[in-house]
């Protein structure tokens, strides 16, 4: 077994040193009645060439986005990944390291995460960002208990224009806590300001919205922040498509108190939904309540700058039952991927990629609304996703498009029965004009 180096002679030598005769002697502390008396019933081991062939065969049974023109988004985005990302972020020095507990030999990881935290602050317009969370949904779930703690209030209000799976996680995360989750119904694909104002009371810890929201609509962040702050509630803004921040006003700019998000779009592969990158950022005043790890800059005994995990008294390994969260392992490598992506794209590239997405989505949106029978579901500003009302069930459209190697959008009826005839399309910078035109041509024939 190539992963186990000890030879029979070495094993004998080691057994002797350990003072036993057989390996079995090392397991005598396991009560006989719970020992497994047979080999595990598993498929026979495969040698490397057969193993790779098997995995290739499984992979080929899927139809991946290299073989399709992808118009599907809804929380996972098909963006171009520069070659720097896999070549640098997946270097084994980063890939096969553990959490940087021994800072002196982990300065590379720590500095990279410090820089990542800085980039997240720049993108979101917030003052502090942590080292990562599991994903956008769980980060949003944790933001609810963070807000409840900070405000000493027990109710959160969440717009139904927030990703349905994020809302599900929010409910699961709070189901057993003294936190009530109330949903605020979106109207015309948008979180209604007046209804929000009416719903928020002195009992409300936070208003949770997403922007661009699940329907692709850019919310009026400023008005929502005002509505929340009027009653001392916090505004939590979830950003599921962070490429939008290359172009859109950052939530910190319009008064968000906590920004959560999904960082997948920043250089991470689609990976059938994970591993992804949970983002959480907030105001400096709230830093001692933020969940998860933080990297800080300090100096060593010689006065040289260096980096450490800091404010660890918030965390489970020190505080145990009193920690701000139970998170331990996070998504550091995905944060590093995002950092390499953002460094490569840089100041100009992030603006460029965002504008490409917006322009292509705008073109697709205008063309599709011109197809007889199709209409925009909501008349509101969008970034790279928009909902279309269709004359044919969206599931049926998708079936037909797939035959032409097009991965269609999300049928909204999956989460919103009232929008059974609506279809959520996403257009990233990867989609060419000719692919968009091909999509529209097929729709012309599907009425």
């Amino acid at each position: 077994m190539k992963y186990i180096p000890a030879t029979p002679a070495e094993r004998e030598h080691m057994l002797g040193a350990a003072g036993v005769r057989r390996v079995d002697d090392l397991f005598r502390d396991i009560p006989a009645e719970v020992r497994l008396r047979r080999p595990l019933d598993l498929p026979a081991p495969l040698a490397d060439p057969d193993l790779l062939a098997h995995l290739r065969e499984l992979a080929e049974r899927n139809v991946d986005c290299d073989r399709l023109a992808c118009f599907l988004g809804a929380g996972a985005y098909d963006h171009f990944v520069p070659s720097t990302v896999p070549h640098l972020a997946l270097r084994p020095e980063f890939l096969t390291a553990y959490t940087p507990y021994q800072a002196e030999i982990m300065q590379g990881e720590l500095q990279a995460i410090y820089e990542y935290q800085t980039m997240m602050c720049e993108l979101t317009g917030m003052e502090v960002a942590n080292a990562s969370m599991y994903d956008g949904a769980s980060a949003t779930g944790e933001a609810a208990s963070m807000a409840a703690d900070l405000t000493k209030r027990r109710e959160v209000i969440v717009s139904t224009a927030v990703h349905p799976e994020y809302r599900q996680v929010l409910r699961t995360y709070t189901s057993h806590l003294p936190i009530t989750v109330r949903e605020l119904p979106a109207i015309d694909g948008t979180t209604p300001i007046e209804a929000a104002r009416a719903a928020i009371t002195d009992e409300t810890a936070a208003l949770i919205v997403q922007s661009p929201n699940f329907f692709g609509v850019i919310e009026d962040g400023e008005a929502l922040a005002q509505a929340a702050h009027e009653h001392g509630a916090l505004l939590v803004v979830a950003v599921a498509e962070p490429i939008s921040l290359g172009m859109l006003r950052p939530p910190g700019d319009y008064g968000a108190d906590i920004v959560t998000g999904e960082g997948q779009a920043l250089g991470n592969a689609l990976n059938l939904g994970g591993p992804y990158l949970g983002v959480i950022a907030t105001r400096e005043a709230y830093v001692r309540r933020i969940p998860g790890r933080l990297v800080g800059r300090t100096v060593d005994t010689g006065g040289r700058p260096g980096y450490v995990l800091t404010l660890q008294t918030r965390e489970q390994h020190i505080r145990r039952a009193k920690a701000t969260s139970n998170i331990c392992t996070n998504e550091s490598l995905n944060a590093l991927i995002a950092a390499v992506y953002l460094a490569t794209l840089g100041r100009q590239g992030m603006a460029h990629v965002a504008e490409l997405c917006a322009r292509k989505a705008h073109y697709a949106r205008e063309r599709i609304r011109g197809v007889p029978g199709y209409a925009l579901a909501f008349d509101a500003p969008t970034f790279n996703e928009f909902a279309v009302r269709c004359p044919v069930p969206p599931e049926e459209i998708n079936r037909q498009l797939l035959e032409h190697d097009i991965l269609g959008g999300l049928p909204l009826g999956r989460f919103y029965p009232e929008y059974r005839d609506c279809w959520l399309l996403c257009v990233t910078e990867r989609r060419s004009k000719s692919e968009i035109d091909r999509l529209v041509d097929h729709l012309e024939g599907l009425r």
Binding site: E10, L36, D64, E115, E122, R249, A269, E331, K433
Partner: protein, 506 residues
């Protein structure tokens, strides 16, 4: 081996600070390549109204591609990894991460799948998930497995919420979770996060849970005992059968923290030991790389009475195909978006298929033999607070060195870095003074273990003859000990451009 010979990694990189990436570039420089827009021009205000646009671009780095390459290459040289050297970090199972796992997972046919792609286009992926679930069920002796949790602690929370729902369904209110005093910090944190009161139970002199103390707190209010077996002392809980009986006698659930599963693969199964629910860290036992802190992958395995409460969706198989089942009315709901850290699940599956039943058992046997060998070789130099046959790891105490030479465990750990090794886990578990927790794993050779013993011996000798050398270690690393107090007192958590000084403005 003398210290300087082991220092290739730090000597190569020197001690000069690496500027942050923001300081590297210059305004106007770019490192990316994207095409111009190929769609007809529209006024930008028509595309996105000005009120929604940011006033200026995000202040990201302005660097060339080579700047990016040099920066992250330099940072990577300042990172210790399994691929670099021995990583005896107890409780973390830092075993070799096979390269073939990476090749398998990075195929476009897995890495480029959209989570909402139609089921008929992801049949290979669903088959892998289904097979992996059934494999894990066999390995653990449990009935069903979810892979939704992103990490071990996430799995703990998932399991506790399922237990919560289980009792709710039965109309019972139970508000307490018991954890041993040797438990991982995540156990009590997860229990609190799940809304439970936590009671801690002490360990006995053999390093087992104190059965008497446990029995005295087992009341009808107890929902679960969160138990680690082998425990964090690296010892198998010899009274596991009695513990399971006692827990079940009050109608509570027995939960296994499976962080230490590497020790018992193919030897004993939690389901057969009486556990009702458990989590596994695929990034420990099943070789998925830890990525400098994550991503991990947690799996939660349950006996059938808890399976109705698993998160949605589950993967099911009918005659023709694999499907995702969302129609599970008793489910706790979701723990995250989508299905789990799929990329890591491909890696874990690849590992298991390469090892087979015999390989997994051999891994456990060698992990345990390596640990017992190291324990035997280090026993003359350190106090061993619970001295019996260990499993995959063991815990020494540095109190002899502290009492005689005023050299603490922390100092010896830092000195190990000078010898080119990662330090063991230290000051954990909390019940051992000056704890040094060592887990060699099965993938390390006898020669590596011997070199580590030599380094530990040398450090013990240094503590006696030249304590200052150890107290001020590390010496050969890119930075020396860092001021953690200053870091926490005045947190500097993000880079900011230096304000132009008066002289530079002049």
């Amino acid at each position: 081996m003398s210290a300087p010979e082991a220092l290739a990694f730090s000597a190569a990189t020197g001690k000069r600070p690496i500027p942050v990436i923001f300081e590297r570039g210059t305004p106007g420089r770019v490192g990316y390549s994207l095409p111009a827009s190929d769609v007809p021009d529209a006024p930008l205000d028509a595309v996105i109204p000005a009120t929604h646009r940011r006033a200026s671009p995000a202040a990201l780095p302005e660097v060339s591609e080579l700047d990016v390459v040099r920066h992250y290459t330099a940072l990577s040289h300042r990172n210790f990894s399994i691929d670099e050297g021995f990583y005896p970090l107890g409780s973390c199972t830092m075993k070799y991460n096979p390269k073939i796992n990476e090749d398998a997972a990075r195929q476009a046919g897995f890495a480029r799948l959209h989570p909402y792609a139609p089921e008929e286009t992801i049949q290979g992926a669903l088959e892998l998930l289904w097979e992996l679930e059934h494999t894990m069920a066999e390995i653990t002796g449990m009935d069903r497995v979810t892979f939704q949790p992103a990490a071990g602690a996430h799995g703990e929370l998932t399991a506790l919420l399922m237990i919560n729902r289980y009792y709710e369904e039965k109309g019972e209110r139970r508000g307490t979770v018991i954890v041993p005093d040797s438990a991982h910090g995540t156990n009590p944190a997860s229990a609190t996060f799940a809304g439970y009161k936590v009671i801690e139970v002490k360990s006995d002199r053999r390093g087992n849970i104190d059965l008497g103390a446990l029995t005295s707190v087992l009341t009808p209010d107890v929902a679960a005992l969160m138990f680690t077996n082998p425990n964090t002392l690296g010892l198998f809980e010899e009274q596991i059968v009695e513990v399971a009986r006692a827990v079940h006698n009050v109608g509570a659930q027995l939960y296994l923290d499976g962080a230490n599963f590497n020790a018992i693969l193919g030897i004993t199964r939690p389901g057969d030991q009486g556990f009702d629910v458990m989590h596994l860290n695929l990034h420990k036992t099943f070789t998925t790389p830890h990525g400098g802190g994550g991503p991990g992958a947690g799996a939660v395995a349950v006996r059938s009475h808890l399976s109705p409460f698993l998160p949605v969706p589950t993967v099911e198989r009918d005659a023709q195909r694999f499907t995702l089942d969302y129609n599970r009315p008793k489910s706790i709901g979701r723990m995250r978006a989508f299905y789990g850290n799929f990329g890591n699940l491909v890696r874990a599956y690849t590992y298991i298929r390469s090892m087979g039943a015999s390989g997994l058992r051999e891994a456990a046997e060698m992990a345990v033999l390596n640990a017992n060998y190291l324990l035997a070789r280090l026993r003359p130099y350190f106090d061993v607070p619970y001295d019996r046959v260990c499993k995959h790891e063991f815990v020494l105490s540095g109190r002899r060195q502290r009492d005689r030479h005023h050299v603490a465990t922390r100092d010896m750990a830092k000195r190990l870095l000078d010898y080119g090794f990662h330090a063991p886990t230290i000051y954990f578990p909390l019940i051992v003074e000056e704890a040094i927790m060592i887990e060699p794993t099965e993938t390390e050779s006898l020669q590596t273990l011997d070199a580590f013993v030599d380094a530990m011996q040398a450090i013990v000798r240094e503590a006696e003859t030249d304590p200052e050398l150890v107290l001020s270690a590390p010496h050969e690393t890119p930075v020396t000990r860092l001021d953690e107090v200053a870091a926490a007192r005045k947190p500097d958590l993000r880079w900011r451009p230096a304000r132009p000084s008066v002289s530079s403005r002049a």
